[in-house]
């Protein structure tokens, strides 16, 4: 998922998309998942769309973001 290979597009790879998600959440604190998806698509192009889910998984596994299923909102987890 995050391993680099020779022809990896650095602009739209999982790590890059994850960085953009963090940047957006730092500004907005919480975002609707669909809205986040659309913003990323506008920012990074169609290709990035494919990696958004993997990037969210990565950030969730690292404990950086959390998801509220009832509100369908993604938010930044507070640093302890």
């Amino acid at each position: 998922m995050i391993r680099a290979h020779k022809y990896l597009d650095l602009a739209t790879c999982v790590v890059s998309v994850a960085a953009h998600i963090l940047e957006l959440l730092l500004v907005n604190r919480a975002m609707d998942v669909r809205e986040l998806w659309e913003v990323l698509e506008v920012r990074l192009g169609d290709r990035a769309r494919f990696n958004v889910l993997d990037a969210l998984n990565l950030l969730f596994l690292l404990g950086k973001v959390d998801y509220d299923a009832t509100a369908d909102v993604l938010f930044l987890r507070e640093a302890r």
């Binding site: 391993r3 290979h5 020779k6 022809y7 990896l8 597009d9 290709r47 990035a48 494919f50 990696n51």
Partner: protein, 191 residues
């Protein structure tokens, strides 16, 4: 009786060797021949020596992630690039063919790179690197049979297209792909 040597044959004629011993001797010879026949190629499926291919496959499947995660030689993670002039000398690629590649194949390289770097084509990229890894070992093994590198590449194209029902249509694409591999240092000697 044919299996018995002339000395033993004479002994059998004069009754020094009994019929039972002769039969035992011949049976032993037949069973030895049978064992030899089925053990000469121990890796044959009908070999008397059984080799568990399924067990081997299970072990390999289990270790695949382990090996692929730690193989520094994998073409996917080989980022070394060599100056093409130096590479041409190392691989003995002819000047004429190199210029041909430049003129006719290089214009497609941008599109191939874009295709391989597209996340939606990730599975194709994985297959591409697997092919490159295999091709590297094949070229290393068979390179000495060819006078020049382009000969080896064209022979590969010829063999590959023979395997496909409509191989001639794919010949041009495969030739361009091999040139792309060469230009991007996926195949061919670099040192």
């Amino acid at each position: 009786m044919l299996a018995v040597c002339p000395n033993c044959h004479a002994k059998a004629t004069v009754g020094q060797i009994d019929v039972l011993s002769q039969r035992m001797y011949k049976t032993r010879l037949q069973s030895q021949a049978l064992v030899r026949q089925f053990t000469s190629d121990a890796l044959r499926p009908d070999s008397a020596i059984r080799f568990s291919w399924d067990d081997l496959k299970t072990v390999i499947t289990g270790m695949r992630t382990l090996i692929s995660a730690a193989t520094p030689q994998s073409s996917a993670e080989d980022f070394t690039i060599v100056d093409l002039d130096k590479k041409n000398r190392l691989n003995e690629l002819g000047r004429e063919y190199f210029e041909y590649m430049r003129q006719h194949h290089e214009p497609f390289f941008g599109r191939i790179t874009a295709f391989l770097s597209d996340p939606t084509n990730q599975h194709v990229a994985t297959t591409y690197f697997a092919i490159v890894d295999e091709l590297r070992s094949k070229l290393a093994a068979g390179r000495s049979q060819f006078a020049s590198f382009e000969e080896a590449l064209l022979r590969f194209v010829e063999l590959a297209t023979q395997q496909w029902p409509h191989g001639n249509k794919e010949r041009a694409v495969l030739t361009i792909l091999l040139s792309f591999m060469y230009f991007n240092c996926d195949i061919g000697r670099k040192s």
